[in-house]
């Protein structure tokens, strides 16, 4: 029998120690239920289920507060659960007089959803809390259960701030929105029912940019028909920031 070279023995021992430590660490540190149902600890499901339930759900609120439920059912906030603003109310359901849920009345709460953020969809009401009636509580003008506007917005930017904030730094800054969009009457108060329409062909852009157009002399002029071929202008140019490309 050929003898095993001396230098192999320590290497094998070290390898066994490394592999052994790895197996031991796996047994010690990996929870036993890990991987039973997927790449996670199965016991975590039960642990979460065992957590104390703090939210009661909107239906529990509506059992008693049916007057608010009725107002809310027809409002823009109808999809919003009561506890989003009032906080967890499970205790209140169990002992209505002992635990009174909080109602946010300051200016800090509503902007969590309605503060301007460019990632929010255009048309979602967004304000700049520092400029929008500073110091005044939101509730003094808007009923949170039926948040209608006290008056129709004066500017399109009240709802379309994302577009407005881009347009303001573009060459189109001075153009009113109605230069290109036709707005149905009542759009500012009922935007879902009265739509704002977008241009449908290149004639809208050609109005200022067609070669020979005397409107807006500083605007770049092109032969729209030759330039665009079969494309629409906004296939390439973003109308609210045309210099982007």
């Amino acid at each position: 029998m050929s003898k095993i070279p001396q230098q192999i023995i320590p290497i094998v021992i070290i390898l066994m120690i490394v592999v052994g430590s790895f197996i031991a660490a796996k047994n010690i540190f990996v929870p036993s239920s890990f991987g039973e149902q997927g790449h996670f600890r199965t016991e975590a499901i039960q642990e979460n289920m065992d957590l104390e339930q703090v939210y009661a759900g909107a239906d529990a609120c509506y059992d008693c507060h049916d007057d608010v439920a009725e107002i809310k059912s027809d409002s823009y906030h109808k999809g919003l659960s009561c506890e989003v603003c009032h906080g967890p109310a499970s205790q209140h359901v169990e002992a209505p007089d002992e635990f009174i849920p909080d109602a946010p009345r300051g200016r800090g709460y509503c902007p969590l959803c309605h503060g301007y953020n460019p990632s929010r969809p255009s048309g979602f009401p967004q304000i700049n809390p520092e400029r929008h009636n500073p110091g005044k509580a939101c509730m003094s003008c808007h009923d949170p259960h039926n948040p209608l506007l006290p008056h129709a917005p004066e500017e399109c930017s009240a709802c379309h701030q994302e577009i407005a904030s881009v347009k303001i730094v573009s060459h189109h800054a001075t153009l009113p929105c109605t230069q290109c969009h036709t707005i149905e009457k009542g759009h500012k108060t009922s935007p879902k029912f009265s739509k704002a329409h977008k241009p449908i062909d290149n004639s809208t852009c050609a109005y200022c940019h067609e070669k020979g157009s005397t409107i807006k002399k500083a605007a770049p002029k092109i032969n729209v028909e030759l330039h665009s071929d079969r494309y629409l202008c906004w296939d390439c140019h973003y109308p609210h920031y045309p210099e982007a490309f």
Binding site: F34, P118, V166, A244, F245
Partner: protein, 411 residues
Amino acid sequence: MLYSIIFPLLNSMPGLSGYVFPNEYELHWSILIVIYPYLTGLVAGAFILASLERVFKVSALKPIYRLSLLTALSFMIIAPLPLLAHLGHPERSFEMFLTPHTASAMAMFGFVYAWYLMVVLLLEIWFDYRKDIVIWSNEKKGIVKYFYKLLTLGATDISEKAVAFDHKIGRVITIIGIPSAFLLHGYVGFIFGSIKANPWWSSVLIPIVFLFSAIVSGIALMLLVYMITSMVRWTTMSMKCLNKLAEFLLYAMLIDFSLETLDFIHRLYESEESISILSEMISSRLFISLIITQIIIGSLMPMLGLVFARFGKLPDELRRMIYFISAILVQVGIFSTRWNVVIGGQLFSKSLRGLTTYKLDIFGIEGLLVSIALLIAPIGILWVLTKILPPWNEMGKVQKEVAKMSATESV
């Protein structure tokens, strides 16, 4: 009138241009993620260079064989640190080993790294040095003696048969090590190349480009390390070795540059919808780091320098100087390559309509100072390793041979 004043001002601001999604304003992968592929590339390159001597018997590279292995180990030890520093919870990183997700390339890489460090590098170095370690454990005095005794791991047999076995097994490890080194850096490219949502990264060529740039950077690093260590130790450099290194560096650069050019032409010809924003990014944000630093300073100039120095009739002194400068330029170029991949891939918006800017911090965990420390640390480790495991003994012999040869050798 007002806009003619405002617009040039706005355009001159280095921040955002066009439309950028809100979660793209700030880059998520910072300079630390630039350093990581740079360091792993140096490891893979240095190892592949070492394997040339061992497997392919390129005897001219003998003086740097051990030095390459130690260099690879030094950089290997530091390579994961930028990743750990980048993590929010580095203390949890070991869980990746305990519960690895087989569908995650990043999770599986932990094992590639462990394999490469433990099975390839450490074993190869140990087998190569074993005879010397046993000798030192007998010659040295005091605590050092016991340190070397510990390093022998009890294997004190240095008979001719045992040493021959060391050489044999060392060769086998090197042969395993070559695909491992390819895997190590190919993986780093794979991580980027497989991100299909990012047109700057998503390319099957990226792992191959990474691999060749790794070889380029590794050879250039060894050229520098060899020249600097020789200068510090006041020993003569083997011109044969330097010439060979320069040749390999030039060939690797030619392949690397061709592949990158191919990738570039392919993108241009394919002309996907992302091409306009990528072109704009190259001509604005990446102009200095890509066109000037990576291509002109980091590729064309050193390639020309190497051709001129290697194949021109120049005195050795001048030749060495050009090699040295070229190797530094290559390092600058490869670092720019990593920068352009990692940072460049995050500078354009996924809307393909805007560009953002990367602002490098000076202080802080993801800052410039930490990055410099991470880049210097391997050199410190290399210094310590060369004290523990001097790679010079063998070089002394070779240098003598070289000295003999140099009298008759015409390069």
